[in-house]
Subunit: 151 residues, 4 copies
């Protein structure tokens, strides 16, 4: 991955404050475990309350964590006057959401003044080691001067 | 939309039993409000616990409901020996997830023996009426003879 | 579909002039057969030169026509100072690209100052009538003040 | 990338024979420049005949090359009785299709008996070196026992 220089030297405090306000992260038990310019890593324990009919973590819940990983990777590179919104996201489910714990790694592949593209991968911790279970590509937008969208 | 004839005359009981087992639906407060062959409608009240940093319902939570709408629309047309898994999904976020209540309509656009493609739309109930806030295209797979994936 | 009011009263001349400059359309034999605010329709005859190994029109060629349908639907609603670029596109292939002739219908589902989302469908003319063979969702951007991107 | 063992020891002859039958590749001037199990690399020179209105290679033409790169990466891992079809593809356009020459690298990220997922990247050769201009995720299907789909 390319090394990125953040436009906002306070990017870490800003990302962490925003993440703390994402009540969905707290409700789903998703934590931010690492952060660097253009890269965010989240983790979640398996929780039967967020599963689908076969006992796998619901594709939408994996998507929720992947989207936040993509979004905060993007937000870490945005200037101090910008907020971040997801325009679109795509998830490929490669294997069932089964495992004791899940790790989500989001990385920016193309930062931009208005549009940033991130990719993320979800890994399940299983008895045989970590397994790639899902991938995401997401398009994020830097939003400015909108009263309802401020960080 | 095309009219579909279900392969399984008991499709409704089967879909509703599967939906009842999706603990994620219960945990997020998502209900199935209508079902027909190739079409499923879900609803969810706004809940601050599942929001992102600006107080909008998280894109991943909207995706969770849209994915279940697509999946059950597809599952309603599958034969009795098949289970359903999402292979991939894509969400476009058109407007913030803001409103008192949300409605999700999933419809099959191409049923198939192995692969089914569904589309879904999310609407927010606002003071000015219903507003289209997100769309999904999802690819679903009929899975047979897998011990860990049975309905 | 919603009825749209174009911001540029000369939208038709502008769209047709831009389409005429897309040499890829000419090279692939794709024509614009209808245009309205927020809606563009293209057509292409089957051509073995643009097929894949089984003699079906290549998925990427169908995507080329669908992308132009989405893009010109979006461009028809943009103001006179904006050019249009595709940010991302997604195609679902529902049936092989087989038939004497193909029709592509693109429609805007959400216009915006910066971001517009369009959907398109591809139909094949077959002996049994028209058949839906592919769908697209595309995200388009209005670009201003860039010397290399002007209409 | 993971190292893959091909199920078909003759995978290279089989892939190259199929590629040679893709008349679209020939018509667009796209060549296969490298092949390994689970990986295919294609190249194309800039050609004004396949450009959009600003003189960039059309997003759909880039998609055509990316789709073939994804498809042949997948096909290289399939058994001798399977043909390959694209179910869906998604392209993110990161920078304009501008440059003397383009390179497309497709890699399998998850092979499967029925469903394979590949990713691809497009690079432009520019005066400043190679530049990432587009990415794709594609879902491919192994098709058996269909008379119209044989390799």
């Amino acid at each position: 991955m390319a090394a990125f220089t953040p436009l906002n030297p306070d990017y870490e405090a800003r990302v962490r404050a925003s993440f703390a306000k994402q009540r969905a992260m707290h409700s789903l038990g998703i934590e931010m475990t690492a952060l660097a310019p253009g890269r965010a890593e989240l983790a979640m324990a398996y929780d039967a309350r967020f599963c689908q009919q076969h006992g796998f973590v619901h594709a939408g819940i994996l998507t929720t964590a992947l989207d936040s990983a993509c979004g905060y990777a993007a937000f870490s590179l945005m200037p101090a006057d910008a907020a971040v919104l997801t325009i679109e996201l795509k998830t490929n489910l490669l294997a069932p959401g089964r495992g004791a714990r899940f790790r989500f790694v989001g990385e920016v592949i193309k930062p931009g003044r208005t549009i940033t593209v991130s990719e993320a991968r979800a890994f399940a911790a299983t008895a045989e080691g970590e397994k790639l279970i899902a991938t995401m590509t997401a398009t994020l937008m830097a939003v400015r001067e909108r009263d309802d969208v401020r960080e």
